[in-house]
Amino acid sequence: MAEKEWTPKIVAFVCNWCTYAGADLAGTSRLKYDVNIRPIKLPCTGRIDPLFIVKAFEQGADGVLVSGCHPGDCHYTSGNYHARRRWIVFSELLRFLGIHEDRVQFAWVSAAEGAKWADLVNEVVAKVRELGPFTAYRELDSAEVVS
């Protein structure tokens, strides 16, 4: 059987109150966008542990999108503010390790921004497609253990 053409696998960690509702709106508005995204709903961006992202890559994701309520709009008042600090630090760490910044992308999408969600997904998918499969990470799997 011919090998299937590669398409990016992207995991999106989204907050329950804004981005998930925004994605819902994109759906009910019948907006078409790339299907490479697998959204995972969490209560808040503040609930997203950096380990989730590492885990996504371990499980074969080519890119990760993190999205939640705009600053000031958090359902829990300040979850996204805390998350913002965390992502500022974490994205720098990944970059320092040599992971391209487009592998993990961040956004704010409100419940009213269905169109923004659709555009965002297209943009994220395009960028990851340009980078190609995340073979560098996957090669860790097959790496020999040096002792």
Binding site: P50, L51, V54, K55, E58, P71, G72, S78, Y81, H82, R84, R85, R86, W87, I88, V89, F90, S91, E92, L93, L94, R95, F96, L97, G98, I99, H100, Q105, F106, A107, W108, L120, E123, A136, L140, D141, A143, V145, V146, S147
Partner: protein
Amino acid sequence: MIDELRQKARELLETGEVDLVIGYGEGSDPTRTMPVFIRRPEDCEKLVWNKYCYNNLTSYLTWPELKTRGKRAVVCKGCDAKAVVVLSKERQIDRKNVIVIGMACEGVGEPLLSKCEFCDVRTPKNCDIVIGPEITPLSKEKQFEDVEQLEARDPADRWEFWREQFSRCIKCYACRQACPLCYCTQCIVERNQPQWVPTSAHPRGNLAWNVMRAMHLAGRCIGCGECERVCPSNIPLMLANKKLAQVVKEQFGYESGYDIDEPLPMASFMPDDSDELFK
């Protein structure tokens, strides 16, 4: 200085001000020291102070078995004393129950450890007792030079660098044990439902572990460098720690271990934090 230290320790124990003194004692050879836990005034002769006093003894402050030993005194270099600041900010120790004996220090190791080249706490700060003369602090201007050097290389090169480094990790968790700020009684690597970090010393799980370790110390690491010193595989862990310290300093204007009142950077926020990262 040794006599003064022993004298002070003896006084503290004799007057009952503390029940335990944690300090450096003679090691197995002249270039080593090891921690000693002293409860009797006459044992204070065991205390030593020299350039081989590497350990950050504040790690012991959070040990449950020592927490029940009453009031403790701990011998600290300037860098170690910063950990006390963080531990008390994070409510891991009651500062009232700990007497910090700061030792004026011109650097440890032979050759000098790299952290000592940029030390601005050669006379320790935030201590209850300071022993030794006032020593001029060194400039920290070039403290991130090694981080910048690695950063100047291209991403693929950096990935290769870290991949090679982390592939040597044997998951002994010595870095965690030596770290005064890794005090969780149950570390996330010991969680197995779900298993967050793979247990075997395999490159994939090694990356997860090392990323997580660095991340959990973001904005907290005081730069004592113990993790790197105890690493049996000589992984330059401080590079990652320093990178995060640099980000936190640039983005949030915070340096760990100096100010007891400043809010913890990763447990607080400002509405006007940079929004550059977000679409």
